[in-house]
């Protein structure tokens, strides 16, 4: 993996939120490189800027200054519409609150991601294998309210990787799960990384969860303080 190319390159990244007349700096000059196939954990207290970094790398919001390249694309130079297009196939999100569409079945939640990306509704054969790996093949015709938290998060993971994104961004993926389901989800993320070479960036408060990654980046006050 040490010879792998950098799939995420962040240089002197700054982000300032304007709250009323007050400027609130969320990131204060972050430098970060993530190699293709790496599983990187980002850990830090609330307000350290890890979610903001996650949102910028995921193309959900533009940086105030600095450079961000994801899979060769310069996000800082992208328009809102270009970042929207980038999100379709380059990144996949897994959120703490699962964020499945409540009116659709698990299968349709996955299908909608393919539809938005302009791909066939039916996933490819490799994805069927992933569904078996996730252990949710028999739960696909249920709506989220009929699924446990662990099942919902596995569906969310399936949706995030159905378009084979360059990076999987997981924001506190175990934050709403019990210990058993947390362990299962973390093992799934590690399996995806090891078996499929999926690049994973995971934000967490939990050092035990962070330990599933190859490396851990520590953040505080909008800066990276340590990389282990």
């Amino acid at each position: 993996m040490s010879d792998a190319r950098d799939i995420v390159e962040v240089r002197q990244l700054e982000k300032v939120y304007h709250v009323g007349k007050v400027d609130v700096p969320a990131l204060r000059g972050v430098d970060l490189n993530v190699k293709a196939g790496e599983f990187l954990s980002i850990i830090g207290p609330s307000g350290s800027g890890k979610s903001t970094l996650f949102h910028i790398i995921g193309g959900l919001t533009p940086p105030t200054s600095g450079g961000v390249r994801v899979d060769g694309s310069d996000l800082a130079a992208m328009s809102d519409a270009e970042r929207t297009r980038m999100r379709r196939r380059t990144v996949g999100f897994v959120f703490q609150k699962f964020n499945l569409l409540p009116n659709l079945t698990a299968r349709d939640n996955i299908a909608v991601a393919r539809h938005i990306a302009g791909m066939d509704r039916k996933p490819d054969p490799q994805f069927e294998e992933i569904l078996r790996l996730l252990g949710i093949a028999s739960r696909l015709d249920h709506k989220p309210n009929a699924l446990s938290g662990g099942e919902q998060q596995r569906i969310a993971i399936a949706r995030a990787i159905v378009n084979h994104p360059a990076i999987l961004l997981a924001d506190e993926p175990t934050g709403n799960l019990d210990t058993e389901n947390s362990k299962a989800v973390l093992e799934i993320l590690r399996d995806l990384n090891e078996r499929l070479g999926q690049t994973v960036l995971m934000i967490t408060h939990n050092p035990e969860a962070a330990a599933y990654g190859h490396h851990t980046v520590h953040m505080r006050d909008g800066r990276i303080t340590e990389r282990t």
């Binding site: 949102h55 995921g58 919001t61 929207t84 009116n103 659709l104 299908a111 991601a113 938005i116 990306a117």
Partner: protein, 364 residues
């Protein structure tokens, strides 16, 4: 997939969907019923005019196509002038009055003369007048008012004895002796209009031309031209009234859909954020809102069409007004509703499309 998203959204909040459809449906029913009434009234007037059997009708100056009431013509003009014109075989003067409503006409006529012109009335029960205060009514009126032969009915503040019930479609719903009507309405010796029957219908144009030279201010029309005048635009205020009702329909459709979709966008803020995180464009979000609004409009249109049958049945059963189901207006009412729904979806749709994905995902 857009269709599935929309369908599942509509199913997810069935009461909202039902109420939206119902309110939109009411305005569709309103439009269809009004159009049905105007068409029913016009077709009814056309049938009656054709049933008279005349070739020409002569009306006093300044007369509207439908709704003539009163008696401004001198009755002596019938025999003293019209009956003596070349090719005129028979001239019949009648007095028209409206009773109960503008839609229910009563006509005073010399029944023997009218029978010569029209070929006679077809009686379902009873027969012609036997005395001055007798009345004959058509089957429509008899059904509406549950009238039987021999019964007395109140008309124009007088009691009349029903001597016959005839098959409708000629002249008016209610027919009374001309002289009695003239007396009761203080129009002795006066009539509303004159019907002329010619020796040969082929002479109609020539006779009309000749009469116009003698009576330049009068409305002199062949029956064909008269019935051609029977359309919405020739009925005072009706076309304007229909336009107002359609305008109200568009506004109702707009407001209902706008409010409904605005609430839906608020309730689904987080879902919009999810779609945006997956890479949904503003156009995709706008399309979902728009298609959902169109679905509400379409459902409302279908419900409105169904309810218009109910309105038709109610009017037919309880109100003495001719009403029709005008299927040609179903797509027009649909287009009006969908236009209102599209406009109504615009602001909520744009608002949804402009949502910041991070704020939307954080929405509780």
């Amino acid at each position: 997939m857009t269709g599935k998203l929309v369908w599942e959204n509509l199913k997810h909040r069935p009461m909202r969907t039902l109420l939206s459809n119902l309110v939109i449906g009411v305005q569709v029913t309103l439009i269809l019923t009004l159009v049905g009434l105007s068409h029913g009234m016009i077709d009814d007037a056309t049938r009656r005019a054709q049933g008279v059997g005349a070739d020409i009708v002569v009306r006093p100056p300044g007369t509207a196509a439908i709704g003539l009431s009163g008696a401004p013509l001198n009755q002596r003009i019938v025999d003293g002038f019209f009956a003596k014109q070349p090719h005129v075989q028979l001239a019949v003067g009648v007095e028209n009055q409206q009773v109960e409503s503008v839609f229910l006409g009563l006509t005073g006529v010399d029944l023997s003369r009218f029978s010569q012109m029209s070929g006679g009335l077809s009686y379902l029960s009873g027969g012609p007048f036997q005395g001055p205060n007798d009345v004959i009514v058509d089957d429509y009126y008899a059904d509406q008012h549950r009238v039987r032969v021999g019964q007395q009915i109140q008309l124009l503040n007088s009691l009349w004895r029903v001597t016959g019930i005839f098959e409708g479609g000629k002249l008016a719903h209610i027919i009374v002796p001309l002289s009695t009507l003239q007396e009761k309405t203080s129009n002795t010796g006066k009539i509303s209009l004159v019907y002329l029957k010619l020796d040969d219908p082929a002479n109609t144009a020539a006779v009309v031309k000749s009469l116009k030279e003698h009576l330049p201010d009068y409305s002199i029309l062949s029956m064909q031209d008269l019935t051609a005048l029977y359309n919405v635009n020739n009925i005072p205020l009706l076309s304007g009234f229909i336009a107002v009702v359609i305008g109200v329909g568009v506004v109702i459709g707009f407001l209902v859909v706008s409010l409904s979709m605005y609430m839906a966008v608020l309730q689904r803020t987080r879902e919009i954020g999810i779609l945006k995180s997956l890479g949904a464009s503003k156009g995709f979000i706008l399309r979902i809102i728009w298609v959902e609004a169109l679905a509400l409009g379409l459902g409302g249109t279908l419900l409105g069409i169904v309810m218009s049958f109910g309105a038709w049945w109610l009017i037919d059963a309880f109100v003495p007004i001719p009403v029709e189901i005008v299927t040609a207006w179903w797509p027009i009412a649909g287009i009006i509703t969908l236009a209102g729904a599209s406009l109504g979806a615009l602001y909520p749709g744009l608002r949804a499309a402009e949502h910041d994905p991070i704020e939307a995902l954080a929405y509780e």
